[in-house]
């Protein structure tokens, strides 16, 4: 097993947590491709004290034995566990019997190690059994209790060690220093390790085989500490998100010609003077600069980065002039310009970026006129126009973009008339119309978009009559209709949307227990929100068939926390997020 597996594990963990968070935030209006970006921004941080971790640990574990573990979530017998897997699980159960795994083949001790970590069974004492095991991956990110005393065993893996993750740990400089002889290390992740200083960081400078390095929110990354990166000439992936003192440090990245991915999001001390050191990194494919304090001058240093496929410069404070410098970046597929001071005048510079698949103009000063320049971006799949001044007139420029899968028009000036222009976009899967001007008439124009899986009508004025249109959207997985006009009669038109996993009908004050009864057939539901309705304790039993439910919100209803708790214990074991609680 190589470092790839370890990083896959990490990303899986993250995906799960991000998903749960999304489901909980029923009122969030920004849901789309760039979700993770937004989540990160508002959800404090992914670290010791964040709520992420709590949700993660309360998720039902894989089960109490390996047999169920390999079955996965669905019904049916599933894959048969291999004998190796059964043995690994058995070792975990009897772990007290073992004190030394070093005579085992490496791949087996690695599997035992991973198993103990996955089950939260690894302790400092047990870790000693893995001394000199020639392990390749030590993935202890977010694992409780990791500190310097663990690092000696980590480092004892010596030249075998390929990847280490000690994110969110209390490891200090002396712990980190132990790794300096593990010169084959390819991947090192020390996110949110607030005990590490620039001295500790500099002890890593000899690790020249590292290809992937991550020090999120690390105070050690300073003009001095960043010297450590200068020798890591094989770096392909560098993540320095949220490093608060990074100003002056980017000069040491100048020679890292193999760098393909650089994340500097939320490094809000980065200024134009830092940016010039990025101008020669011509292999960069992904660059994230969201929330850096850079102006149009700073953007000008990106002009020659012709390999860029992804560029995120949201919330940088850029004006139209800055966008001129993007004209030559024709390989761009993903461009995030959200929350900048750009106007229609800027969009002309995007005209030639014909490979764009994902464009975010959230909260920019964009109106109908500018959209004409997007007409030729035929590869566009995701377009974020939330909180712009786009109105119905502008939408005609989008009607030829047949690859569009996701469009966000929330908080725009779009009215019912404009929606007709979208009716031919057969590829649309996700549409956000959270906007008070939209009514039943607008929805009626969209009934041919039968491929929709996500429809957000949160603030739209949809009535029971309008819900008849919802019947056409048989593939809907998520639906929000919270304008206040839906009654039990309208819910009848929703009850057959069997693919729904998320349903938000909150703010519809007339809904009664009858609605709960109607919803009881939507057994795929993972998240349900009926807050601010007349739903009562006596209707709760209708929810028993919703065995997949993980999040239930019934705030400001005639429902008591104790009755929900009873329901949870008696019938809904997967429920992890409950309101009121």
């Amino acid at each position: 097993m190589g470092p790839g597996k370890a990083s896959q594990l990490r990303s899986n963990r993250f995906v799960i947590s991000a998903r749960i968070i999304t489901m909980g935030s029923a009122c969030s209006r920004k849901r789309g491709q760039l979700l993770v970006d937004e989540e990160d921004l508002y959800s404090a941080r992914f670290s010791k004290s964040s709520s992420f971790k709590w949700l993660l640990h309360t998720l039902p574990r894989s089960g109490s034995d390996v047999h169920r573990k390999v079955q996965g979530p669905g019904p049916g017998p599933g894959r048969c566990p291999s004998l190796v897997e059964l043995c690994v699980a058995k070792v975990r159960e009897d772990i007290g019997r073992y004190s030394d795994f070093s005579r085992l083949p490496r791949d087996l001790s690695q599997q035992i190690f991973n198993e103990l970590v996955e089950w939260n069974s690894l302790t400092e004492e047990l870790l000693g059994a893995f001394r000199d095991c020639a392990l390749q991956d030590i993935c202890l990110g977010d694992y409780p209790g990791v500190r310097d005393s663990w690092m000696e065993v980590v480092a004892s893996q010596g030249l075998s060690l390929l990847s280490v993750d000690v994110s969110c740990s209390d490891v200090t400089d002396s712990g980190l220093n132990q790794l300096k002889d593990c010169i084959n290390l390819q991947s090192l992740t020390c996110n949110y390790c607030d005990q590490i200083s620039e001295h500790g960081l500099k002890t890593l400078s000899g690790l020249s085989n590292v290809t992937s390095l991550s020090f999120k929110k690390c105070g050690a990354v300073t003009a001095e500490g960043a010297k450590a990166f200068a020798n890591m000439v094989n770096l392909g992936n560098l993540d320095l998100e949220r490093c608060p003192k990074i100003h002056g440090g980017l000069v040491h990245l100048k020679g890292l010609r193999k760098l393909e991915k650089l994340n500097l999001r939320y490094c809000n001390c980065i200024t134009d003077s830092d940016m010039k050191h990025l101008s020669d990194l011509t292999n960069l494919r992904e660059l994230q600069l969201s929330c850096c304090k850079i102006s149009d001058l700073g953007i000008s240093y990106l002009r020659g980065l012709a390999s860029l496929v992804l560029l995120n410069i949201s919330r940088c404070g850029i004006y139209d002039e800055g966008c001129e410098h993007l004209e030559g970046l024709v390989k761009l597929k993903v461009l995030n310009l959200g929350f900048n001071y750009i106007t229609d005048a800027c969009l002309v510079h995007l005209k030639e970026l014909v490979n764009l698949e994902c464009l975010n103009l959230d909260s920019c000063k964009i109106g109908d006129e500018g959209l004409i320049h997007l007409k030729g971006l035929l590869q566009l799949r995701t377009l974020e126009l939330s909180d712009t001044e786009v109105g119905s007139n502008g939408l005609r420029h989008l009607s030829g973009l047949r690859n569009l899968q996701s469009v966000n028009l929330s908080f725009t000036l779009v009215t019912d008339i404009g929606l007709k222009k979208l009716s031919g976009l057969n590829s649309l899967r996700s549409l956000n119309l959270d906007n008070r001007q939209i009514t039943d008439n607008g929805l009626a124009a969209l009934t041919c978009l039968t491929g929709l899986t996500h429809l957000d009508l949160f603030g739209a004025r949809i009535t029971d009559a309008g819900t008849n249109c919802l019947k056409y959207f048989k593939n809907l997985q998520s639906l929000e209709v919270c304008g206040g006009f839906i009654t039990d009669a309208g819910v009848k038109n929703i009850k057959d949307l069997k693919a729904l996993t998320l349903l938000n009908l909150s703010q519809n004050g007339s809904l009664t227990d009858k609605s709960l009864e109607l919803i009881s057939g939507l057994t795929a539901l993972v998240s349900l929100n009926l807050s601010n309705s007349r739903v009562s304790n006596s209707g709760l039993h209708h929810l028993k068939p919703l065995q997949n439910l993980r999040s239930l919100s019934l705030e400001s209803c005639k429902v008591t926390a104790i009755e929900i708790k009873k329901l949870q214990l008696a019938a809904l074991p997967n429920l992890v997020s409950v309101r009121p609680e």
Binding site: H67, P77, C80, L83, V84, L86, L108
Partner: protein, 119 residues
């Protein structure tokens, strides 16, 4: 399953009911101590290592002679592995619901053998 020379006629490990027996016949697995375990080919092929040996065209001599020697696997471990083969077949067909029992004393040795047999 039975040890070498215990009886004239060799008893075989069989599945309870065998509907469509694709890989027909049996194969003899021989432990380090020389004990022979005769199992259905179908069961032996739960092990990817054995599957490769038994199915690769004209490759291994094992395929022709119908026996495979394991000089590194002791009798009790090989016996346990044969039990696993059948447990696995039953599990996959949905008939097996009980857990596969592993004695703590043999876990590590069994794991190493299972690793070798890719099962």
């Amino acid at each position: 399953m039975l040890g070498k020379g215990e009886a004239a006629g060799q008893a075989h490990l069989h599945k309870d009911d065998d509907g469509g027996e694709q890989p027909s016949g049996v194969v003899k697995l021989i432990s380090a101590e020389g004990f022979e375990f005769v199992v259905d080919k179908k069961a032996a092929m739960v092990s990817n290592t054995l599957r490769n040996m038994l199915t690769s065209p004209g490759g291994f001599s094992e395929t022709r002679e119908g026996e495979v020697r394991f000089p590194e696997i002791s009798t009790p471990i090989l016996e346990k592995i044969c039990q696993y083969f059948y447990w696995s077949l039953h599990y996959s067909s949905g008939k097996e619901t009980s857990e596969f029992q592993i004695e703590p004393e043999i876990t590590l040795e069994l794991m190493m053998a299972a690793n070798y047999l890719d099962t």
